[in-house]
């Protein structure tokens, strides 16, 4: 008995009652955003209890409706359509009819459906895009940057006065502290972790070989590059991206100044020049860190350490480190400017570019490190 009375009306929590009578739903009062979710839920549930497929929504008693209300009606209609019901709207005063017309979502139904992209297509286009747009763009940018870098080496006039020194400070000098500190810690930990094993074999003195060779041929260049990629790769990307977003790059071009030459080349010079020095500092400090560990854990005095170091050091490592410094510096500046120039409009694009520049910059440095490691083994 109770069931019967419920099934004939739709009652919303705020007391609004919509009468359902003989396949016709009489809306009354208001159908506005606050009640829409409940309305949709209850109407769908109720109508689906019915058997026959034709329904009418009568709007004569409806006083007010908003865009959410209108869309909810069409939503219900579509949902019921899917379930095999047919729904029709009738009546309504002038404003209601006008609003129905104004907010009718079917206007937008004609938009072509977005093509669904399958997994393989996604992978395929991804790889294709990478090679056409990224890889090719990257190589092209690299070619441009190095062209201007070499050309401007001998043309004093086109250079921007003071910018090289400025960048050398920003990229190189300001990074000294962090590079020195981090390599010291790494040298120390490297030595500490090997100390126990070496002592077991009574091979204490080899701690020197381990620290010196490890730092010089591998750790120092890598730590420096990763730190610089994080510090300067990001700031290069952010600077260029911001300049692009605010049309500063366009302004440079129309003043007859090539942005690569004006913005990127001084940074490239600065990092090519400062990176080797940073690596030297990283070596000194890392080996010092190892020395401290050796002194406290393996009783190797600084004198012994330095003597042994003289025997262990190889000239080859110096050359390797220099080559690495130049490769890493170029990669970092390149990735930074590549993502800077690629920024799509808007401020959030700057953030995305910056992040990509750091992630890709560090990855490229590590890849290059393994390749160079194999080459110079």
């Amino acid at each position: 008995m109770k069931k019967k009375s419920v099934s004939s009306d739709i009652i919303l929590k705020n007391g609004t009652k919509y009468r359902l009578d003989n396949q016709t739903l009489f809306l009354s009062g208001e159908l506005m955003l606050p009640v829409v979710p409940e309305f949709i839920r209850k109407v769908l549930k109720r109508i689906k209890l019915q058997k026959s497929g034709d329904f009418v929504v009568n709007l004569d008693q409806l006083d007010n409706i908003d865009s959410a209300g209108v869309t909810s009606l069409f939503y219900v209609k579509r949902k019921l359509g899917d379930a095999g019901f047919r729904l029709r709207m009738e009546g309504g005063n002038e404003t209601i009819v006008k609003k129905l017309e104004l907010f009718k979502p079917e206007k937008f139904d004609e938009l072509p459906p977005e093509a669904k992209i399958g997994f393989f297509e996604l992978v395929g286009t991804g790889v294709y895009d990478f090679f056409t747009s990224y890889f090719y763009g990257f190589i092209q940018l690299a070619a441009n940057i190095f062209y201007f870098a070499v050309a401007d080496l001998f043309r004093k006039k086109v250079r921007r006065k003071g910018e090289f020194a400025n960048q050398a400070v920003l990229i190189g000098v300001n990074a000294v502290l962090i590079v020195v500190f981090m390599s010291f810690v790494i040298g120390l930990v490297l030595a500490l972790q090997s100390a126990q094993q070496l002592r077991n074999f009574g091979a204490n003195i080899f701690i020197v070989d381990l620290v010196v060779i490890g730092m010089m041929s591998q750790m120092a260049p890598l730590i420096t590059a990763i730190l610089i990629a994080g510090r300067s790769g990001s700031s290069i990307a952010a600077e260029i991206a911001t300049m692009k977003v605010t049309s500063e790059l366009d302004a440079l071009k129309t003043m007859g100044l090539e942005p690569i030459r004006f913005v990127v080349v001084p940074k490239l010079y600065a990092s090519l020049l400062t990176m080797p020095f940073l690596i030297v500092l990283a070596n000194v400090s890392g080996i010092a860190g190892g020395g401290v560990a050796a002194y406290f854990y393996l009783d190797i005095t600084p004198e012994i350490f330095i003597n042994r170091m003289g025997d262990v050091m190889r000239n080859k490592d110096l050359i390797t480190a220099f080559v690495k410094s130049q490769v890493y510096a170029s990669l970092i500046v390149l990735t930074g400017s590549f993502y800077g120039f690629r920024v799509v409009r808007g401020a959030e694009g700057v953030g995305i570019s910056t992040t990509s520049a750091v992630v890709v910059g560090i990855s490229l440095v590590i890849v290059a490190d393994s390749i160079l490691g194999l080459l110079f083994y």
Partner: protein, 254 residues
């Protein structure tokens, strides 16, 4: 016609990927005149300007500036071209890492071998023209919107270019500052004989400065003619644009 063309665009088409922005644009701008490019938002005015400025690759159409083919320039010719045009960007586009003075001096220092103190003099004069001498050592981030625009104008005219381009100089300016900017533009035109090509929506400013109107709609030019012709013209979109004036009249009578 005996007027000299400074810019001539013929059948220019432009698109971004698959979206066609300009389908067929042709118009001319004349020496010593202010040419205004109109069109609703997104109609491709900035895109058109960037093609003229050589900032985008142009695949279809013809652009002549000072009678020279602007599309087939080599590096030196392009530089020579850029030294003869000044560009004013919407939000100034001053280099943020340099002071206002350094910004204005930049083209002078890069492209001429003038002695430094002479460059300083020129910078002072240009900043004086826009009433901004006092801000010479300020950084762009320390300036208000109106000041930024004036500084950008000073930089655009650093090399005394015969032609000046503006992209929406009035956006975000109060009517009083806008009027003084317009007066500056008229001075540049009349006293220095500069030709000016400008994108703007500001009707009052158009009435004050325009000689010639180009109206862009759906990728092509739907109206090209003098300001007077534009005010009388019956192309729907142009009429609608200037109907603002009728509204003013109505409001006055009411």
């Amino acid at each position: 016609m005996d007027k000299e063309k400074v810019i001539e665009v013929r059948n220019l088409a432009a698109s971004f990927g698959d979206t066609v922005v300009l389908s067929d644009v042709s118009f001319s701008a004349y020496k010593g005149e202010v040419t205004i490019i109109l069109g609703s938002s997104g109609s491709g005015k900035s895109t058109l300007l960037k093609h003229i400025l050589g900032l985008y690759e142009t695949e279809k159409g013809e652009i002549r500036i000072f009678g020279e083919d602007a599309l087939g320039l080599d590096e030196d010719q392009q530089l020579h071209m850029y030294m003869r045009m000044g560009v004013f960007y919407q939000n100034g586009a001053l280099l943020n890492s340099m002071t206002v003075g350094e910004n204005v001096a930049l083209p002078l220092k890069q492209h001429t071998s003038l002695p430094d103190d002479l460059v300083d003099d020129i910078v002072n004069i240009k900043l004086g023209l826009v009433n901004l001498e006092y801000a010479i050592n300020k950084f762009p981030s320390e300036l208000s919107g109106g000041m930024l625009k004036r500084a950008a104008l000073a930089r655009a005219i650093a090399l005394d270019p015969p032609i000046l381009f503006f992209d929406e100089p009035g956006a975000g300016l109060d009517p009083i500052s806008l009027e003084s900017l317009d007066r500056l533009i008229i001075d540049l035109k009349e006293q220095l004989g500069m030709s000016i090509v400008m994108v703007t929506h500001e009707v009052p400013s158009i009435l004050r400065i325009a000689n010639r109107i180009i109206y862009l709609d759906k990728g092509s030019v739907v109206f090209e003619g003098t300001l007077k012709e534009a005010l009388k013209c019956d192309v729907e979109s142009v009429r609608q644009f200037f109907s603002l004036l009728d509204d003013v009249d109505k409001a006055k009578q009411a």
